[in-house]
Symmetry: C2
């Protein structure tokens, strides 16, 4: 077995399934369990160098909630291992005790090792990630309070986006809408439908997808816009022209996944169309990999790190290409999956210490030895490994039952 991807053959699929499953259970998860669990102060420390040495004891709230979610998801979806549940409870306890601001009920973005607040942000992504973490714990422990909290946090995320209570960074001169809100809305509702049977999930998902279709999905430009005007108008300034292909591709697989569940061909088509456009825009023909930002018209981008290769856009593209191939059988997606899988697996894994590096230059050379920080933690890589493993397993079962 090599790390090369060949999804079109049964052997290739079997190899890939092993790569994803064993990578998750034998590498990624043990790496974080070994290095990030703070037995002394609770929660997780994710700011670490390549060998797992903690380089900053501060705790990112995104990572507290995401690792807790991952552990709960593994417990509920893969195997009821008590170690995973215990660690998820270890995470949720730190979240409960230290990640909420009692003055307004909102969540912090960054706290100290002991849980003192450092920073809150305007956006409420902490709340959305906490919602799915509480959802997993509600399912795993049948705890009604967790279930209620999961619902409330999701509602807070929605309310805070619609009626921000935090001072705005920009004036009202040029109001915008960002794709992050409806995207994360879809993923959160999907999760809470699975874990706490969220009643409104289908309707909410319909609404979020409609928002993307109405405002961000641009057939005339063959593009999914990251940021648009309030009515979906293209804003011809740096911020409006800046595309985030890996992000749009993440949104694409959320929608494909919904199409698969509902057997809704129009949703699958929408997701594949989003992937098609953004692969064309994001894949780096010169060096390989998905670029971080590109300009709508191919011009210069203002963000300094625009052409770097971050780990997570590759993770999201690996999921999306695999899903698109499984849903459509289109050989193009098998080729793309092979391209992105092979490029990512030949550049990101840390051969010495396990897990992946996070930040490469455009040419694939390493920019940083960091294994984690406020933004990189046990989320995109293990979620990719889990999603791909599970969907390959399902398709194998389908193939087996079809053959038998």
């Amino acid at each position: 077995m090599t790390n090369r991807s060949d999804i079109a053959s049964p052997t290739g699929r079997s190899d890939l399934l092993q790569i994803y499953r064993d990578g998750l259970l034998g590498d990624t998860l043990p790496f974080w369990v070994k290095h990030s669990v703070d037995r002394e102060c609770g929660g997780f420390m994710t700011a670490m160098d390549q060998d797992g040495a903690i380089v900053d004891t501060d705790k990112g709230v995104w990572q507290q909630t995401r690792f807790t979610w991952l552990l709960g998801e593994l417990y509920n979806r893969v195997a009821q291992r008590s170690e995973w549940l215990d660690l998820a409870i270890h995470g949720i306890q730190f979240i409960e005790q230290h990640c909420f601001d009692p003055t307004d009920g909102r969540m912090w973005f960054q706290v100290t090792r002991q849980g003192q607040p450092i920073r809150k942000r305007r956006y409420s992504f902490s709340e959305s990630f906490a919602a799915i973490a509480y959802g997993e714990l509600a399912l795993a422990t049948d705890n009604a309070q967790y279930k209620q909290l999961a619902k409330e946090l999701f509602q807070n995320f929605i309310d805070q986006n619609n009626r921000p209570t935090f001072p705005a960074k920009f004036t009202d001169t040029r109001q915008t809408r960002a794709i992050g809100f409806p995207m994360i809305g879809i993923a959160t509702a999907q999760q809470l439908r699975d874990t706490i049977d969220l009643d409104a999930a289908d309707d909410l998902i319909d609404g979020f997808i409609q928002t993307i279709r109405d405002y961000h999905f641009k057939p005339e430009l063959r593009c999914v816009m990251e940021t648009v005007g309030l009515h979906g108008e293209v804003i011809d300034h740096f911020d409006g022209r800046t595309l985030n292909p890996g992000h749009a591709i993440e949104g694409a697989w959320f929608i494909m996944k919904e199409g698969k569940r509902r057997a809704d061909a129009s949703l699958i088509k929408l997701g594949c169309q989003m992937l098609d456009w953004m692969w064309q825009r994001g894949w780096d023909e010169q060096h390989g990999g998905i670029l971080y930002f590109v300009d709508l018209h191919g011009g210069p981008v203002q963000e300094y790190w625009h052409d770097m290769k971050f780990w997570w856009p590759q993770n999201e593209t690996i999921i999306a290409t695999l899903m698109a191939y499984q849903l459509t059988g289109d050989e193009k997606y098998a080729r793309w999956h092979q391209q992105i899988h092979d490029w990512a697996y030949s550049h990101f894994p840390d051969q010495d210490n396990g897990e992946w590096f996070g930040y490469l230059h455009r040419d694939g050379s390493r920019s940083s030895t960091l294994k984690g920080n406020l933004w990189k933690g046990p989320f995109h890589l293990p979620r990719m490994q889990l999603e791909c493993w599970q969907s390959l397993q399902e398709s194998d079962l389908t193939t087996v039952s079809r053959d038998s």
Copy 2:
């Protein structure tokens, strides 16, 4: 004449003087005058591609004030060309009409082409740059109102730093002080001493230098810290360990310049010591050039673009090494000047369109074709060319008078 720097020989110095003077008057200044002056709506547009094509019509307030300062400085220091004065007045008119928030008197950070506000920032650097622009205009036109505004804006910059009125980005859990405030304080007071005879300038400068000495200058670490705790303590987290060598080196020449003016050997020594430490930390032994951020202990840095080569740290280091050589005669500084000058001039200038590119990868390859944006405009490069030209000219005159 080549673009290679050899400051230790008379011919080398003469060549260098020409490079800086002709670069300023024959390349940098004409580039911005040709491409950035907005004859229709006033002010300057600096977001442009390599050929000067405007890629974003929004106007950065830093660039309005800095270009206005440069034009006034050239008028007052180099030659009383009416074109320069007219353009400086063109700039100040846009600033007066569109760059202040009438509700609180603070300045915006970014406005539209027509001058509608887009964004205000917590920090008041817009005010400090506006102060020196008004100072130049006050001197050039003998306008008492400009003089008064220059004083008030500098005071606003100081007050806003000491008692912020804008919501904080961080909680009070870990209060910090950044070197940017005392550094820009020194440079602003130096400018206003020259243009409006600011009474308090010497005392203010003494205070700002003392702040740097007391809190940021660390002999035991051989380092100038960018960010420290309120009492100068080293903060052992990403933000506290992150060093900005080009920034500290900019501060170093502000202090050397003060030492030169006052013939104060202790200030010259302080500036040279800051340069020595931060050259050692910032010079990239592998690829050349000054790195953007480095970690205090050589560990990983959290900012994604940490190892890129931006134009301005090179500009500031070219000034500082030249000044240190002229003030001390130490051959080490001549060597460093040659290293940084030669590396910068072989990587940054745009051979086709003039001026410099702004953003290179660590290895010196180009990351962006941008010639300007909200942060890059007619400031660091032309200021370097002006400072180095003028100081080489002064030293030539000194040499001539000594020889005669």
